[in-house]
Amino acid sequence: MDPDTDIGGAQQRFPVTNQSAIAAARSDDHVVRQRAFDTILTSYWKPAYKYIRLKWQANNEDAKDLTQGFFANAFEKNHFANYDARKARFQTFLRTCLDGFVANERKAGKRLKRGGDANHFQLDFLSAEDELAMQATQANDLNPEDYFHREWVRWMFTMSVEMLRERCQSSGRNVHFQLFEAYDLNDDDATTVSYASLAKTFNLDATTVNNYLAATRRDFRRIVLDKLREITATDEEFRTEARSLLGVDVK
């Protein structure tokens, strides 16, 4: 695996707790605060980078520096502790902070170079650039705010799929994930893959394919909701985001 994708080390890439990182950002305990920050950084750095590239028309080097600078500044000054769930969604708050940061940087005519700083995060900008190249024709269809949200949703699902893969592998359910990958992540026309064809390929009966897929999707749903709970501050915000993200009502 590309080491650049690791943020804070492989063990911390997906924080194990599903308590709210937004609430933990206010903790007096530095370790708790650091973990909360890692969660927020993991969940938002890629949409933030793409957003800077699109809305602020920054070149890739400037966008990298601005992304690094924004999160480093937010961590140093503990900006995320100022979030008030009664006023806006956290995503909106973060995007507004990001706009303010970039505007200030542009106004000051500064160009941040963070190569030697302590808060130089290991972020896989290369993959973000590859994705931007693939989306070149679609990005202009949306306003920057909708684009940010869409990329955040994509990133949430991407991370959740990766976590699902790890869980399936660690619990010896490789076939479950392979079925999920073949049916739900297959980029070919969906009509070419059916439960019957999967049953034949994997030497299973169709009912088993149905049950394996259902169980894996259930796990996937749980992972997505757990991640969502991590990055929302209140139950109400969690429910609102769940409905917005997945169209589902949750407890």
Partner: protein
């Protein structure tokens, strides 16, 4: 990490949001409608190889006792055999704990869609009569619907009228089971014992009776459905969901007797409403036949006007005869 295209993201959203029917005989096809009580999906019954409509309620938790009671009560509702009723075929619990009901998948249009394309009040009222008849049948068997609204009434491909979604119905008298006054099909707010908790609001607010809106579950009876029928009638007269305006204010073409039927059904005091759906249906029938309706006392002028309107052909004949007589009298004198 593998990049997910827009279509894959959409697919995954659907995968996560759609119900998990594993362990049941159904497979998911697509979402049909979403409401306050739950979401209705089109699904395939793999045993009988047919499509069914499945409503998944937003009920978060269920106990074994509640599950058994729901199944028993669903069986009672499933035994309501009437051409105007689409009963529950099956009831169960999804792996995530949500309760579902399987119903016949009806191909047709909802009453509100039908009304949008049908300007004839007479046609609308005939459909409404059929609704009243179906509801009267259910009432006669001790079952009240509790969520009557245009969206729960379908006009089938042959013009037949079907009342859907008996998933939140309540059984008033247990004719089939030995227990009386047990609750039925739960919804959000159902307590652990299986009864809908007092104070729980079930239904669709614009079409629900005041007592239902107040959550007085133990006060609900046939007359609560009568109120909802009145609200549906209001919609058919005005093309609007019930509000504070009288029907004739919104649509001056509505006759006074039609408005009186509507207002009687929607009386805030339950005792002032029709005692049954059959009684309301009879009044609508009289309205269609230009007969006096029980909900409205006519003055002499209105009685004559209605009689003339009903016997227009006869009146024209008599007038023509009289004119001819007058004509002959004058011509013979000259």
């Amino acid at each position: 990490m593998k990049w997910l295209s827009d279509s894959k993201v959409s697919h995954l959203r659907a995968v996560v949001g759609n119900p998990d029917f594993s362990g049941t005989k159904y497979t998911f096809v697509k979402e049909l409608a979403r409401g306050g009580m739950g979401t209705v999906y089109l699904a395939e019954d793999t045993e009988l190889n047919r499509q069914v409509a499945i409503k998944v309620l937003s009920t978060p938790e269920i106990t074994e006792d509640l599950r058994r009671r729901m199944i028993r009560e669903a069986q009672i509702i499933a035994r309501l055999e009437h051409p105007g009723l689409v009963p529950v075929h099956d009831v169960g619990v999804l792996p995530d704990g949500r309760v579902f009901y399987a119903m016949k998948f009806v191909r047709g249009v909802r009453l509100d869609e039908y009304a949008a394309n049908t300007t004839s009040t007479r046609e609308r009222l005939r459909k409404f009569q059929a609704v009243c008849d179906a509801v009267a049948f259910a009432h006669a068997h001790g079952v009240i619907h509790r969520d009557l609204k245009p969206q729960n009434i379908m006009i089938g491909s042959f013009g037949e009228v079907l009342v859907l979604d008996w998933g939140v119905a309540k059984i008033l008298r247990a004719e089939v089971s030995s227990e009386a006054d047990t609750l039925m099909l739960p919804a959000a707010g159902t307590n652990k014992a299986g009864d809908t908790a007092h104070g729980t609001v079930i239904g669709t607010r614009q079409y629900m009776s005041p007592e239902q809106a107040r959550g007085e579950i133990d006060q609900l009876d046939e007359r609560s459905d009568i109120y909802s029928l009145g609200a549906v009638f209001y919609f058919l007269l005005t093309d609007q969901a019930p509000n504070d305006e009288r029907p004739r204010t919104l649509n001056p073409k509505v006759s006074k007797p039609a408005e009186a039927i509507c207002l009687k059904a929607m009386a805030r005091d339950r005792a002032s409403r029709y005692a049954g759906a059959g009684e309301m249906s009879a009044d609508v029938s009289r309205l269609l036949d230009a007969e006096p309706v029980s909900a409205y006392r006519e003055n002499a002028y209105e009685k004559v006007s209605r009689w003339v309107g009903k016997n227009r052909f006869l009146v024209l004949l008599v007038l023509a005869y009289l004119l001819m007589r007058i004509f002959f009298i004058f011509t013979s004198r000259s």
